[in-house]
């Protein structure tokens, strides 16, 4: 806002010097209103204000207490006199149909409620396909065949092992902590950054549902900013690694991996740009970039179950199954042997044998003679 004011003052000064006259004061242009309502007050993310049909009382009420996505603007930011001025200015602005920007045409469908509904649908979609994915992976791991052994091991013990693995190997990324601290930091920034963003979103939905403007020092503002910064930093390292690491192409998933990394990069950068531009008062671009940010987050969520995003839940789950299978073998509840270089091989071999016999049409009781 201040930069804009300085710029306008200089411009006004120049104009006055050149033409030798004082220009009329443009409070609307100098306020943060313009960012959402457009330079010619024909709308942006917010509705057009030119030739407004609102009474001054209604106008004041909306400005002071906010409405929908519009934050409440207090007297420190806009004095009562300036508010009156803005109202007069916008009421007198001409109605220019062709000036209504696309951002408003898209944005008028968006309120905090509609946005949260859209994201609820996206999360539902993501959740359904993630669950479908997880059942695929558990089928690969032969989890159904492992269940009787887990029952013998004891459910409490099994759940304990699985939870420990999910926390240590998954959430704390134990294997990287031991092997590669640099990559652990990168994973930490992304995982805990994401968790921070998610937590912030939940807290904002509870404590600030109208998304009113908050000071930078407010925990509700600080948490998403710090988390977003962590994600941005993490994703920058991932991007760097994708450029640098010549073995990043594993011959199968490169396209999907790139999609995920790029979407994540766009989400992080656009999110950061929105906050920065808003703080700098460069309002013209805020809403367009905000819409872009929302669209990238939406795409990131709905493509999640099909991109490298899925390794966030697939890897911990698969490692947990490996730990469970190792525990089953180590306690000897399965077949009596206490060592198995490929955990789960015995029940997978039995499954293969049954499948082959079915495919070649042999029926009867199946006995595995030995497991090499």
């Amino acid at each position: 806002m201040n930069a804009r004011l300085v710029y306008l003052t200089i411009l006004a000064g120049l104009t006055a010097t050149i033409f030798g006259q004082t220009p009329t004061r443009d409070v609307f242009g100098g306020s943060s209103c313009m960012g959402c309502h457009g330079q010619s007050a024909m709308g942006g993310l917010g509705p057009p204000l030119a030739k407004t049909k609102l009474s001054i009382e209604e106008f004041q009420k909306i400005v002071r207490s906010g409405k929908g996505m519009m934050p409440a603007i207090k007297e420190n930011d806009l004095s009562p006199g300036d508010l009156q001025e803005v109202y007069t200015e916008v009421s007198n602005k001409p109605w220019l149909e062709d000036q209504i920007p696309i951002a408003y045409k898209v944005g008028r469908f968006l309120s905090p409620t509609s946005v949260s509904h859209i994201f609820m649908v996206a999360f539902l979609f993501c959740g359904i396909f993630a669950v479908r994915g997880i059942t695929y992976w558990l089928r690969c791991a032969g989890f159904k065949q492992l269940l009787p052994s887990l029952a013998k091991l004891g459910w409490a013990k099994a759940i304990g092992i699985a939870l420990k693995s999910l926390i240590v190997d998954g959430f704390l990324v134990g294997s990287l902590w031991k092997n590669n601290k640099k990559r652990w930091v990168m994973h930490g920034l992304l995982i805990y950054g994401f968790c921070g963003l998610l937590l912030a979103d939940i807290l904002i939905a509870i404590f600030n549902p109208q998304r009113g403007q908050l000071p930078l020092t407010d925990p509700l503002k600080l948490l998403p900013i710090v988390s977003g910064f962590a994600v941005a930093l993490g994703v920058c390292y991932v991007m760097y690694r994708y450029k640098k690491d010549e073995y990043i192409d594993n011959g199968l998933t490169l396209g999907k991996d790139f999609l995920f990394v790029n979407l994540l990069f766009h989400v992080a950068i656009s999110g950061f740009l929105v906050v920065t531009l808003k703080r700098l008062g460069i309002n013209d671009w805020v809403m367009t970039i905000y819409l872009y940010h929302l669209a990238s987050v939406f795409l990131l969520i709905v493509t999640g179950p099909f991109t490298r995003f899925q390794h966030m839940y697939v890897v911990p789950i698969m490692v947990a199954v490996t730990r469970l299978t190792e525990a089953v073998t180590a306690t000897g509840v399965e077949l009596g042997f206490q060592r198995e270089p490929s955990p789960g091989r015995h029940h997978k071999s039995a499954r293969i044998a049954e499948d082959v016999l079915k495919q070649v049409g042999l029926e009867g009781k199946v006995v595995m003679r030995y497991y090499p």
Partner: protein, 241 residues
């Protein structure tokens, strides 16, 4: 684009485990590590019992779950279809072990032990340089041999030529010819292990023939060699007349 594949004819397998040993010898795998295994299966109850040998090894899947589950991108699929675990990149996380529906990825938490007290030069210079401790290992389709134009060790060692290796995309390859020939003579079609897993394995199998016609057996003796097949067919046609 070539697609290397291994066809295993269950009719021909006699369960001698020569492939298992050849693999161990070629790859110098440590104690209790088997890339090529032979499952020994009994079906039915006495007196109606059958024994079936099912050689299993990494299937080098087109849509390999091990590769997709690897958090370190240590598993790669070469353009010819061979799926490899990069021993330097692998961190031994263990996700691939569970992800493989066939149980063909080996990850040993204990220190490796070999069979002899002292390393032979082969083990010291070739084997141990390739097999890093505490990381995932699996069959490589003998990529180092394939790159030199050789066939995998298990294929070469099989005394009954139950294993046929080659490029499925190339109609002139041993494997394509064998598949075509078996389809015609014994009406057997190759199948994959655990098709419902959706992994699109490269390895395929031909089922056992319970009733065998000696004439068709005679024909299938010639593997991928059109000339021998022709020679085998001539006296047979004469005998029919």
């Amino acid at each position: 684009m070539p697609r290397l594949s291994m066809l295993i004819d269950l009719t021909r397998c006699i369960g001698c485990d020569a492939c298992t040993l050849a693999c161990k010898q070629e790859n110098g795998t440590p104690f209790d590590t088997f890339f090529a295994r032979v499952l020994n299966v009994e079906v039915g109850t006495y007196p109606d019992v059958k024994r079936l040998y099912i050689p299993v090894l990494c299937n080098h899947c087109d849509d390999a779950p091990c590769l997709k589950s690897c958090p370190n991108k240590a598993i790669i699929r070469r353009p010819d279809g061979i799926v490899l675990v990069d021993q330097d990149r692998c961190r031994g996380t263990g996700a691939c072990v569970s992800a493989c529906p066939y149980g063909n990825i080996i990850l040993n938490r204990e220190p490796d032990s070999w069979y002899l007290d002292e390393d032979e030069p082969y083990e010291k210079d070739f084997v141990k340089a390739r097999l890093k401790p505490n990381v995932a290992r699996k069959c490589t389709y003998c990529a180092h041999r394939v790159d030199q134009g050789l066939k995998p060790a298990c294929v070469v060692a099989c005394p009954t030529t139950a294993r046929i290796f080659g490029d499925l995309e190339d109609e002139a390859s041993d494997i394509s010819q064998y598949v075509a020939q078996e389809r015609e003579t014994t009406q057997r079609k190759p199948f994959h292990l655990l098709e419902e897993a959706g992994t699109k394995p490269a390895g395929c199998y031909l089922g056992p023939m319970s009733k065998q016609d000696p004439h068709t057996l005679h024909q299938t003796d010639a593997i991928g060699d059109a000339k021998t097949a022709e020679m085998a067919r001539v006296p047979q046609q004469g005998a029919k007349k």
